[in-house]
Amino acid sequence: MGPVADQAQPIANGSTQLADEVEQVVEETEEVNAGEELSSQFSHSINDALTRRPTLPGFADPRMERINSIGLPPWFIDRCRRAYLSVAFDAAVDCRVLGVTSTAYGEGKTSVAIGIATAMAVDTKKSTLLIECDFANPSFYKFFGITEAGGLSEWLDGGSRLRIVRGAALVPNIYVIPSGAAQGEPARFFYQLVDRNVLDGLRGIFGNVVIDLPPMLNISYGSLACALADRLLIVARSSVTLTADLETIVTRIGKERVSGIVLNGTDQRTPSWLRPLL
């Protein structure tokens, strides 16, 4: 048993299992080759972040940030639940990695990603990781009320510690990795994440991983970004997103990789009694 497992305390339902998984990942990371060094470091950092440190009585864990609340209404999370339940994941895979993207900013991509992660965490009771991979335009800090600086991009640039934020009291098994401060060249982070299979290290630690990807329409590294996830959902804002843009990114990503469209911000005005007649 490593130090991480020694100090692991039940943090939620299934926390013991998490600790075992973390230890297993640590053991596995010792065997990784040089090309997978970053992946190993990522797993270590995750394990390090998840490990609870002894604290003085009456004081909160100084190393584990917490989100005050998710900030999304229950009905919104329920609609997001409908979205992730429609995605056909491979039953043989323990960890489900779902990417959420859109054509452009302002379509509700991040809200839907948070909603899906929350629903998955609540439903499956498994540890669920929500990663922000929108390095150019981070927004998790706005949603969760945390500081912008310090996140995945800083860690990929050689920062000593991976910042991981734990979910609110109502959903304690959700973990959030913000992307950090806005970066000018986001493609290089994706290259590192994909080329070194960094996210593979998470598969043994978390049951669900939701990746908030950047909008796909105007970026050249879309294929790199999409390679991070097993399945993809595209968020479109009703009456705002152009169908032609959706068509473009579906073609670019590949229809077989897109599990579905989440139509966000619908505001149907046609009376409900009239809709079935149409």
């Binding site: 509700g108 839907v112 068509e247 599990s259 989440v262 046609t270 149409l278």
Partner: protein, 318 residues
């Protein structure tokens, strides 16, 4: 269809105004373009009531009294005297206030004022114009003017006939007197010759024949003159007492839209307006290339829409 209905309900306030506009325009057209129709019915008595062989001057024996009267009215309203009288009356009563309106009214009487036989003894007089008061005044004045004009016409015709037959009688009487003088002179020159000796004296027979001829002509002229005087007086009297207004001049149709003739253009305005609104909806739908209808999206992209999420109030989206 769903897309267009959604557009309609989404912008329902705008479309309510747009739908109201053609309705308002249609109603306005119905009121502004309304044509008013005044009507009156005249009854004409049967000429046989005056006498079995009586036939008013100018009447056709092959037509009914109503048809004859309608013809008379139609002829009278085309005369300059009628226009003059109508102009004087309309101006005097104040029904027409401006010169151009008066001119337009007088001009339209030749086509807008109609007399139609609506039975063997009934004639319906109608006049259509843009103003109800003017219509009513024109029909009312037309009846009065018609009676006056017909009396004058009948009087003129009777005078002409009387003058003619008076001249004929005078000529016949002069010729008779001349023939009698000639016969007396011949009898004086040939004593013993009598009127009965016509066969033995051809000259005597010719003179006697002349006297008889002119005597007959005088009698004929006297009869015709009497007949003309009788017909002239009787016709004038007949048209005066035999023509009665059974249905006084009144407005037909609605107070606001008149004789309903403006409903067709109003309906056209309404239809064009509604078509324009429908075209606007179609244009908006055609120009809207955004994702909105899940079914359309699935059909176009070949990817399922796995969830629809209503608008999150206060959400800026990210």
């Amino acid at each position: 269809m769903a897309k267009y209905l959604e557009i309609l309900f989404r912008q329902r306030l705008r479309f309510a105004v747009l739908l109201l506009l053609p309705v308002v325009l249609g109603v306005s057209a119905a009121v502004v373009l309304a044509g008013y129709r005044a009507t009156a019915t005249l009854r004409i008595a049967d000429p046989s009531a005056i006498g079995p062989s009586f036939e008013p001057v100018g009447w056709s024996p092959n037509q009914t009294p109503a048809q004859n009267l309608a013809d008379n009215v139609s002829q009278v309203v085309k005369t300059p005297a009628f226009s003059q009288s109508l102009s004087t009356r309309l101006t005097g009563s104040g029904a027409v206030s401006s010169g151009p309106e008066l001119q337009q009214t007088l001009k339209s009487t030749s086509t807008g004022l109609k007399a139609v036989a609506s039975g063997s003894h009934f004639v319906t007089l109608t006049y259509t114009c843009p103003h109800a008061a003017v219509c009513l005044a024109v029909v009312s004045d037309t009846i009065d003017i018609f009676k006056e004009e017909m009396a004058a016409i009948q009087q003129d015709q009777a005078t002409a006939a009387t003058t003619f037959w008076s001249g004929q009688l005078k000529d016949a009487q002069a010729n008779l007197a001349a023939a009698q003088v000639e016969l007396q002179n011949y009898a004086s020159a040939h004593p013993g010759t009598t009127a009965d000796a016509g066969l033995s004296d051809p000259q005597m027979a010719l003179l006697v024949s002349n006297v008889q001829l002119w005597r007959g002509k005088v009698t004929e002229a006297q009869n015709s003159l009497s007949q003309a005087q009788y017909l002239g007086n009787a016709s004038t009297r007949f048209l005066q007492i035999g023509t009665a207004v059974v249905d006084p001049p009144h407005m037909a149709g609605s107070r606001f839209v008149g004789d309903y003739s403006s409903l067709l253009p109003a309906a056209l305005v309404l239809l064009v307006g509604l078509a324009a609104v429908a075209a606007y909806i179609f244009l908006l739908g055609w120009a809207d290339r955004t994702a909105g209808d899940p079914k359309l999206l699935e059909r176009r992209l070949g990817v399922p829409v796995v969830a629809t999420i209503p608008k999150l109030v206060g959400s800026g989206g990210a």
